[in-house]
Symmetry: C2
Subunit: 465 residues, 2 copies
């Protein structure tokens, strides 16, 4: 493009900007938000170099080192919730309590997969959440490898009495996770006896990743587990080379009756509108592998940290700042759904719900779902975070635990952070404290605290659509 064209392009861009229909905030609201600039700097200092520095990382390390992973239904999870309630009380927060909910109780038990032909080799597996187990003697069957559901349809006549190995190329988590979630029933429809699904992720060092799967009730429930990317590719190559694949699979997995767990709640009570709330949240449960440090210890602990910072600075917002650490997110937001059902009648008192469940790496802003006017308010608040390069507001905020509230048009938001490697570790033994960084968590906590405090202290709850 020539120089003149570039110049006219810029002019057009400027003109189109001037003609846009973005909501214009009132002078007063802009001034009100700008007035928080000193408080925002205090929050940032407190979190980066003050008493809050490295606090969320260190608290989380102590917590996950002590309790390990926290699967719904496990004593690990309930013990960790007991301790969390103690910690929140020790931190001097208000109204610390657990809200009881019914949660799933799936247990993995022992599990083994062995390649018998064309050579003997152990295959590292992780059974998928809600999977049934095998018979006591296990399942020994020949295997077929399918790279896609399309290939399954084309080769459906080869599937009966076979173990189906799915080896789809990773496109993105939301796209490729379909194989993990639906693979078992898609193959069972044609008579498969078990499925082994390539781990849903972009990179692996021979690490299988578990996760939820869902049976279609119209076909038999068959055992299903994930295997590593490396083994999926190896089995694929062997099949294409004409080798007969025989696999032995043994899984003790079973689903037990639901049990009672708790969403963990703590607050800083609002000084003027105590019934109105801003929620910051993450989930305390995790898969039963690794430490559940990243997913979602990090999100839960920066949310706690947001309240700790506000309290540590002696601030009391006009409305209530509520921390919720959800339970049984991993089975599909089981705890948060019951919270929503119980509290939805108060939807007009919820200004916004924040959830961090996609990493607490270097933050660069937030993602938001709500009205254009509400977004403009968040963008204005974002200006208070320019000094830490976290001022951007993107669309499509939310998360499994807060998206329920969209039905009531309550705004939701999540943390925009450099989580490019999130799916390297997600739902695997690699989800440990080594993935996280104290300074990045300090920054995330500051972002979370600035948004949460300012929104809890403005004159009004956020406008709906």
């Amino acid at each position: 493009m020539e120089a003149l064209s570039i110049l006219s392009g810029i002019l057009l861009l400027l003109l189109s900007g001037a003609q846009s229909h973005e909501p214009v905030l009132s002078e007063k609201l802009i001034r009100d938000i700008s007035n928080y600039s000193e408080i925002a700097l205090k929050i940032i200092d407190y979190s980066l170099t003050g008493p809050g520095a490295n606090q969320s990382y260190n608290r989380l390390a102590t917590f996950v080192d002590r309790y390990g992973p926290r699967l719904s239904g496990s004593s690990n999870l309930e013990d960790s919730i007991d301790h969390m309630l103690y910690l929140l009380q020790q931190d001097g927060l208000d109204n610390v309590h657990g809200e009881e909910v019914n949660v799933t109780h799936w247990v993995r038990g022992k599990e083994i997969a062995q390649l018998l032909e064309p050579r003997s080799a152990e295959l590292s597996i992780l059974g998928l959440g809600s999977s049934v187990g095998t018979p006591e003697e296990g399942i020994t069957a020949d295997a077929v490898v399918m790279r896609s559901f399309d290939e399954l349809e084309e080769r459906k006549d080869e599937v009966k009495d076979r173990i189906v190995v799915f080896n789809p190329t990773y496109v993105s988590y939301p796209v490729t996770v379909a194989y993990r979630v639906n693979g078992a029933s898609r193959a069972s429809k044609y008579g498969a006896v078990a499925t082994l699904i390539r781990t849903v992720g972009p990179f692996s060092i021979y690490s299988p990743h578990t996760g939820m799967q869902v049976y279609n009730s119209s076909v038999p429930a068959i055992p299903t587990a994930c295997i590593t990317i490396e083994d999926a590719n190896m089995l694929d190559r062997l099949e294409r080379a004409g080798e007969r694949l025989t696999i032995h699979l043994y899984m003790e997995a079973q689903t037990l009756p639901m049990v009672i767990s708790r969403n963990t709640v703590a607050e800083i009570k609002g000084s003027v509108y105590p019934d109105q709330v801003v929620v910051v949240s993450g989930h305390l449960d995790s898969w039963d592998v690794g430490q559940g440090a990243m997913d979602d210890g990090g999100g839960a602990f920066i949310s706690w940290q947001a309240l700790s910072i506000v309290k540590g600075l002696g601030l009391t917002p006009k409305r209530t700042l509520r921390l919720v650490m959800w339970t049984d997110e991993e089975a599909g937001g089981i705890g948060s759904q019951q919270y929503y059902q119980r509290h939805r009648e108060d939807a007009d008192k919820y200004s916004i719900l924040f959830e961090s469940d996609e990493g607490v790496f270097l933050p660069y802003g937030i993602l938001f779902s709500g009205s254009a006017e509400a977004k403009a308010i968040l963008q204005q608040i974002g200006q208070l975070l320019v000094s830490i390069n976290a001022s951007e507001v993107y669309d499509n905020g939310g998360g499994t635990d807060v998206d329920w509230w969209r039905e009531e048009k309550v705004p939701t938001a999540s943390l925009a952070n450099h989580n490019e490697h999130y799916f390297w570790y997600h739902h695997s033994n690699g989800d440990t404290m080594d993935v996280l960084d104290p300074e990045e968590m300090n920054l995330c906590s500051a972002v979370w605290a600035v948004y949460a405090y300012v929104l809890a202290d403005l004159d009004d709850v956020l406008p709906r659509g």
Copy 2:
């Protein structure tokens, strides 16, 4: 620095260059080497887009998928050598044979480590090569965590009857590997009952890496295994938090009597000086985890490929081009040492030995050990590889299997390649075909073939120091 200073600096540099004492090759030798430019281009084309394209990768995948990892003393290794001899014969190479050597026979057996206190957790381990096992009932003991040998010396009074966990920060492989190699005996000296060593590597997704360790015969041999970086850090944090660590370790590892294995040899017999040789090599044995694809299937197979390319192009060099796939490198070059002892009397007939055992990633040249004059010859040959950006010649070439020959002043060389992630996978279950790339292996094969062919075809063997 000011502009005038920069200019005078450049002038000084030019002058010092002009005054250097680099060896000057004869006009004839420069011309002789330049005359290979057409052949070099043919080799490159053959390897990148011709019949050799992807051949080394595909051959290796078929091989490691069929045999898996190939630990010294295992039937896997011997079966794979049998098949390798068949493949080399099928490839039409000369003098295909196995040269018998005595090799180590260490077997891993079952192995388990469990953290009992302060909480119950499985610790993923890999016993270290040559380690003894535990008693049948295992070892249950409290653990102490040492970040360095210095700390061990300072805290030596705390070590008796304890399991010592070493958690040294990774500096580099040659530096940090001291903990894996000597950690057990260093701790045994002060009465430790076992050692768990943090995996020697810069990055992990909860993947333990095995490797060789060596007992000091003056202290009791105690069981020793590596643990993941993540668990080493967790145990370290727990100890610093004042927690008592109790670990149960069970290992069946044992060293059996040495057995006979083979170095695998194939040649393109020289047309003029058949008794003189250029050796290209890698090792066929591997640790008993992953597929031994990178370490060192890749090195062995690009070495084979070098001969395949030369043969495929119908070329016959003046002296013999010899492929050696060493056995039992992993225990310290056991197979290659015996080869050296058997053949060292012919050292003057060895022009150079190449070994690729540090990855077959994107190549950018070679590393060389030998006289300045020999290096100048290799630099001149490197000019034939400018078109694929692999013309550089660095110092300090060689490898475990060829360094023996330095005693006889025979030049050695290895492959300079972008192996920055080599130690992410090395000696772990992550060492699979997924780590390698067909096009990178094409380039490595071309580099290997050009150097090997030209050096085998020049009038003289490389000059000694």
